[in-house]
Symmetry: C2
Subunit: 445 residues, 2 copies
């Protein structure tokens, strides 16, 4: 059997089942029947998600001199969302069935004449706009002014802090402000596992430039996004150039990065040139001056902005789909995740050949301590037989499994202080020194 690939034939059900079985992703509040549009990341998923985020921090922020981090609150003054247009315009078209009272997204109905829930025809009234922001009341007063929204995107927090970042950090243009955080969208129809969620996480940058410099910055960030896709091990990512006629009035260019999910080719990430629309709108609404002073030219202006926007959850789903493989190993069918070692939740597993031999256990502990100096995520697994352990580690994407046996202790003097190193993708095993095993892990990361 040839290795399979996400874009070929892996089903969403396969990934959902593996994600639950191996502690990546559980339905939110599952013991209470769940909560639509929410999922919880289990021990392996939480680490994989963190690894993806850390790789983004490294590639988009830490390795550069022109990026500044931010961590703004989810609850924001509602005036910010009035200025950005979200209060009036962040909505989906909604229809209600007059018979069963169920509600649907008008643009997602397969047959707009017939209710997909009760089956009656011609029961839909007028299409109305449903605002997707979650509203809540802050403070103990009951008046309308206390209504606040959970942010529908992290970008808003960046724009309202533009002045604070400029005043405290004195960055030189061009520069970016980067943020990772939760955003909330009251989707009428959350669906497709962690693809369309009501609670999601975003990695966003607002990259501020002089108007004349937007094209260069756009290309540079576009290239970086492809590098990131490659580092994550994603199968092909397709660029969709948004057509001029479909662009917002302030934008001259937007690219959707699309991925082939089992439910179709869908938007993974976006890259948009937004002109000076956002800062101008916030300057007008807030009264704060959101200009940048070019000290050399003694010139003040509102910078233009390029926005690379990446959803964490749908990225993680694309990572799982891209990494999933099935093959035949030693006569047995197996499935595994060919995750890049840099983002694999566990870098290597260490185990004694037999758990009831104290001298093997002691040596294995010693080896693990050595490897943990390379990376702390070295698992210990002495549960069940060795085949079962390998199957477990394959399914969580652990690149290496290391077994300590009597030869490691010197039963065969030529093999003293060597271990069996098993490679996840090929299933092949080789005999290497402990130092060499550590080096293999180090260079893989």
């Amino acid at each position: 059997m040839e290795p399979s690939n996400s874009s070929d034939n892996v089903t969403l059900e396969t990934i959902v089942a593996l994600a639950k079985r191996r502690g990546f992703i559980f339905p939110g509040s599952e013991i209470y029947g769940g909560l639509a549009g929410t999922f919880d990341y289990g021990p392996m998923g939480a680490v994989l998600k963190d690894n993806i985020k850390n790789l983004w921090w490294r590639m988009f922020v830490d390795m550069r001199d022109d990026m500044y981090r931010l961590d703004a609150a989810i609850l924001m003054n509602p005036k910010a969302w009035e200025a950005s247009g979200h209060v009036s315009g962040f909505s989906d078209p909604l229809v209600e069935c007059s018979n069963c009272k169920k509600r649907f997204r008008a643009d997602q109905l397969e047959n707009p004449e017939k209710c997909p829930s009760c089956g009656k025809e011609h029961t839909f009234g007028e299409v109305r706009q449903f605002n997707m922001m979650f509203a809540t009341k802050a403070g103990s007063t009951e008046d309308e002014s206390a209504t606040v929204y959970l942010r529908p995107e992290t970008a808003g927090g960046i724009f309202v802090n533009f002045k604070n970042v400029v005043d405290s950090m004195h960055p030189k243009l061009p520069f970016g402000i980067a943020q990772i955080g939760k955003a909330f969208r009251n989707e009428i129809a959350p669906r497709d596992f962690i693809f369309r969620l009501r609670e999601l996480e975003q990695m966003e940058i607002e990259y501020f430039v002089k108007e004349s410099g937007w094209k260069d910055a756009f290309s540079e960030l576009q290239a970086l996004m492809h590098e990131f896709a490659k580092a994550l091990g994603l199968s092909e990512v397709h660029e969709l150039e948004v057509e001029k006629a479909d662009l917002a009035h302030y934008s001259e260019r937007t690219i959707d990065f699309e991925f082939d999910y089992p439910f179709g080719r869908k938007e993974l990430w976006g890259l948009a040139y937004r002109g000076d629309f956002d800062l101008k709108a916030h300057q007008e609404a807030s009264g704060a001056k959101l200009e940048y002073l070019d000290e050399e030219l003694k010139e003040k202006f509102i910078p233009h902005v390029i926005e690379p926007s990446l959803g964490v959850d749908r990225t993680l789903l694309a990572v799982l789909l891209s990494a999933y493989r099935e093959d035949d190993l030693g006569g047995e069918k197996r499935s595994y995740l060919a995750l890049p070692p840099a983002i694999a939740p566990v870098k290597a597993m260490v185990a004694p050949l037999l758990k009831n031999k104290p001298e093997l256990v002691a040596k294995a502990r010693e080896v693990r301590a050595v490897l943990q100096k390379v990376h702390p995520a070295i698992a210990w697994d002495d549960n069940g037989n060795i085949g079962k352990r390998y199957r477990r580690q394959d399914e969580i994407g652990t690149p290496f499994c290391i077994t300590i046996d009597f030869d490691t202790l010197g039963e065969n003097p030529d093999l003293l202080d060597t271990v069996t190193l098993r490679h996840r993708d090929s299933g092949e095993q080789e005999r290497v020194s402990i130092a060499e095993a550590a080096e293999r892990i180090r260079t893989s990361l």
Copy 2:
């Protein structure tokens, strides 16, 4: 002037001003007049916060074999909060002035007879209980069942995932599930900067044990919390043993860890033995079996739990207060943050002595690249004169400043490839090799 210390005399205003000036913390949505109880972390604050969280992950989770990460959703099925008692009991006492209609926390009024806002006496009606959970509506339906809450603590997400973690990871008792994430509390009176927030972040562990083992686990986690306080450089942390009469019925022991903030000695962290109260309540309400099977003893039971609960924001405030120092250096008054290098946002600053000498700039870039192999957070700062740069780095807590001059290039052959290394706390400078500078940074972390 002797070094000063938080517990002595630093005011909250001093820290608030430094935090804003140096890009640590800004008022939330500030350009729109703010939003009570929210703050935004700027470029330095976001990194400091991440460093604190990563130290917690390392000490409480990654260096141990008995801890599992989790990242559960903020929006949870409301039944979880009914089971936990939050819907009925997570409330503060509220009074309203009949004259000005302002509302106050009854237990925080200095003079319960007189309104602190309008000054009228005897205007307060009955005290009523105000539930502190933020409510919102999920989905497009209008019926009551769609009301969901923003989680008031991260612990709830851990308990509802107990079964999923056990089923996927097969952990051996005792084990813990650890989570960092946002929580929301609609405080009647948010106050004291980032101490009492409406949007906050928590680091929580539920550590599951056999009933007979709770005392040992409690002591171990208690010791770990003190180690963590030490690693963060906190000034004295005081243990307050909650008295038997004040304990919840299910708890036999709770310790508050208190810190001397400028506004008084207040709770920093908590450590509680909660018996089997939580899992039992969720088992009863959900119908799911939340038992643990001891495979050796062939025995099923509901584990007991120890809960170390740490607020990220109030920890960060304690870190800033503990690190703040004022002294006299070379005849000038200065302030600096004596942050432990492991959590300092910038590990070292590198600069050429003169920014208009290309050969100095090139060498400084080269030195920086060498140091960035030790840690990426090596800042480049050639803005303004050197005194101004030092003042900036002192105030963000950068442990080392490294200057490249003509001797580095070999103007004095004996000093070829040496740099000036300045120490933040003493202001002292020494001449060391580039390799030695890298080594100093490495060993400090």
